[in-house]
């Protein structure tokens, strides 16, 4: 556990600090410190995520409270005062909503959908991948055939189809409230195959190893073997795919919302904001479009870069 000598008087503290020191000396921290791009990307991602999570406390205005909206504030240019006499650093849209605040709330929706969909895809893909890799045979054939077929179609097309079908199965009066969950389901189902394929490959390798045979001979329940013993050893690639998948899910959500089939208009995400902003592109109100677009690109790009770095850092063979 530790390579530092420590006195018996303070074993707990010593263990803790040395663990922390060991972590600081690890390969991952080393490669993080030596990659300026990654440091910038992680800071950008962190700022955007914090902005989204704490939007209700940080946002200068509440853009979805009709009581505070004033049409006199509409179309205010960035960094200027409106006719209503209020200051807006990124300007306002046609309804007088503060663009900065709508972006903060919008990234909240985008990130929520992105994280939930990726988590859903991860749990489903990892579960099916473990089963396929461990059991093999007919289960393996069925699961991987479905994954192959799905991977040969673009994820956005599959998400659209699932979204349409799920919408049709939900009674019309609940469609508005269920839309965000349907969206998470659609994006999650469109992205599970990547996880399954990777985990299956890693599981087939792990299954051959002695520790799994030992556990099996001891009579450990296969379910426990998979969760307690195999799963931790295949988590590395899963984290990498999860990070890159998060960036993909954010873009897919934005695309669907931009196409007008995503989140309901009462809960605009970044994609919805871009869709709204495009209407004012020709009349010269560029800020309504530009700032949400920049936020989306920064978010997707920084998460993507983090995923790339993680892949290189966790895979010493590439170095």
């Amino acid at each position: 556990m530790t390579d530092l000598p420590h006195s018996p008087e303070q074993p707990v503290v010593a263990a803790k600090t040395s663990r922390w020191k060991n972590f600081l000396k690890s390969d991952i921290v080393w490669s993080y410190r030596h990659s300026p791009v990654t440091i910038v990307a992680s800071i950008v991602a962190l700022v955007l995520i914090l902005m989204a999570v704490f939007a209700p406390w940080l946002a200068p205005y509440d853009p979805f409270n009709p009581a505070t909206l004033n049409l006199m504030d509409g179309f205010t240019a960035p960094n200027s005062n409106s006719f209503g006499g209020r200051y807006f650093i990124l300007g306002t849209d046609n309804q007088g909503r503060d663009v900065l605040s709508t972006i903060m709330y919008g990234s909240r929706v985008s990130l929520f959908v992105g994280f939930s969909a990726t988590l859903f895809a991860m749990v489903m893909g990892v579960g099916l991948g473990l089963v396929a890799g461990y059991l093999g045979g007919i289960w393996d054939a069925i699961i991987m055939r479905v994954a192959d077929v799905q991977l040969s179609f673009p994820a956005i097309l599959i998400a659209l189809l699932i979204f349409g079908v799920a919408r049709g199965l939900i009674p019309p009066n609940q469609q508005e409230s269920a839309a965000i969950w349907v969206l998470i389901l659609a994006i999650g189902l469109a992205n599970w195959a990547q996880f399954a394929r990777t985990v299956r490959g890693a599981t087939m390798v792990e299954r051959q190893k002695d520790y799994v045979s030992a556990a099996r001979i001891l009579g450990v329940n296969p379910f426990i073997i998979l969760l307690r013993h195999v799963l931790p050893n295949v988590m590395g690639p899963v984290l990498v795919i999860g990070t890159i998948g998060l960036a993909l899910a954010i873009i897919e959500e934005a695309t669907l919302s931009y196409l007008g089939v995503g989140v309901p208009p009462t809960q605009p995400s970044l994609g919805t904001l871009i869709r709204i902003g495009q209407q004012f592109l020709f009349s010269g109100e560029w800020w309504i479009l530009l700032f949400p677009a920049v936020t989306l690109v920064l978010l997707a790009l920084s998460v993507n870069l983090l995923g790339d770095w993680l892949r290189d850092a966790l895979n010493p063979k590439l170095r």
């Binding site: 659209l160 049709g168 196409l259 495009q278 020709f282």
Partner: protein
């Protein structure tokens, strides 16, 4: 070779049947076709009569075979939203999508191969670095943002190209083309570029990687030793051997182009099949969704088949393998 094609055809039929089954399940069980087609003030007797007429009271497998039979004749029922036959809607809009897809595939193929060769022959040039970086950024931007960016630059700021629609079209009887008028061609430029970018970067990186590989092989070194000109080596010997993977990727990507056209068509309000599909998803117009699913699957299967046959034409090793009893 015939046996190989026959086997591939058989597989394709199985895939199409599976897709048809999914499409049928969607068609039959998502939403209620009867209440979608009848108005609010219809009686139960009306419902029962329509159910009988649509064959919804038949056994499950009979309904499925009726569905497949109709699909083979291009019949997918009537759109709930537009109250027109789905086949007619798709046929009206298909030329727009096909012209867009082929224009963008041509751009991607020509520019991708040219840039790929250029960056492979000058690996250390500054311009290569610029192209490679630009391609990375291009891949990581969402398609619809690229489209909006192009609209902003060329339609809003420079005012040189139209930002939406297809321009004037000429009716050739069975095909309404925008390729023969000036406004039609000008309208095609921005959507085609938007749609081509993703494929372009892919082809470029592939050609570059393959070229770098091939230029290191012995036969290229031998060609140099024979004193052949640089041009003959690069284009006569090296380029030929990079083409197999390029054909695969271009062919397989053509299917995703049709699918990605959904986004491009929405950005540019292009009256194609993709925008029809998006509008149908938004209002759960099930017959159109089912028909589009079958249509896209058909495109994928046909393209896969063509790619496989092209292998035989391009790669002599496969042909010989096939002759000697594969």
């Amino acid at each position: 070779m015939l046996a190989f094609i026959a086997r591939r055809l058989f597989q394709s039929v199985i895939v199409m049947l599976a897709v048809a089954f999914i499409a049928f399940m969607v068609f039959r069980y998502v939403g209620d076709p009867v209440s979608s087609m009848l108005g609010q003030d219809s009686t139960l007797a009306d419902h029962e009569a329509l159910r009988e007429r649509l064959g919804l009271n038949e056994p499950f497998y009979v309904q499925f075979f009726t569905f497949v039979g109709n699909a083979l004749q291009g019949q997918f029922g009537i759109s709930y939203r537009l109250q027109q036959p789905v086949s007619q809607l798709i046929m009206e809009r298909l030329p727009a999508t096909i012209e867009l897809a082929f224009a963008s595939a041509s751009i991607a193929l020509v520019l991708g191969v040219v840039l790929g060769i250029y960056t492979a022959l000058r690996p250390r040039a500054f311009s290569t670095g610029v192209i490679m970086t630009a391609s990375l950024i291009g891949v990581s931007l969402p398609t619809f943002l690229i489209g909006i960016g192009l609209i902003y630059v060329f339609a809003v700021e420079l005012k040189v190209l139209p930002s939406f629609g297809r321009g004037e079209v000429i009716d050739l009887g069975w095909w309404r083309t925008g390729l023969l008028t000036e406004s039609g061609l000008r309208s095609l430029i921005l959507p085609a570029i938007t749609l081509s970018l993703f494929q372009l970067t892919l082809i470029m990186r592939l050609v570059r990687a393959e070229m770098l590989e091939v230029l290191r092989t012995d036969y290229v070194r031998f060609a140099r030793a024979r004193g052949l000109s640089q041009r003959a080596i690069n284009f006569g010997h090296a380029l030929k051997n990079t083409m197999v993977p390029v054909i695969t990727i271009t062919g397989l990507q053509l299917g995703s182009v049709i699918a990605f056209a959904i986004i491009t068509e929405t950005v540019f309000q292009w009256p194609g099949v993709g925008s029809l599909f998006v509008n149908s998803v938004a209002v759960v117009d099930v017959p159109v969704m089912a028909a589009y699913l079958v249509f896209v699957a058909l495109v994928f299967v046909v393209i896969n088949l063509i790619v496989d046959i092209l292998y035989f034409i391009v790669d002599p090793r496969l042909r010989d393998g096939a002759k000697s009893g594969r």
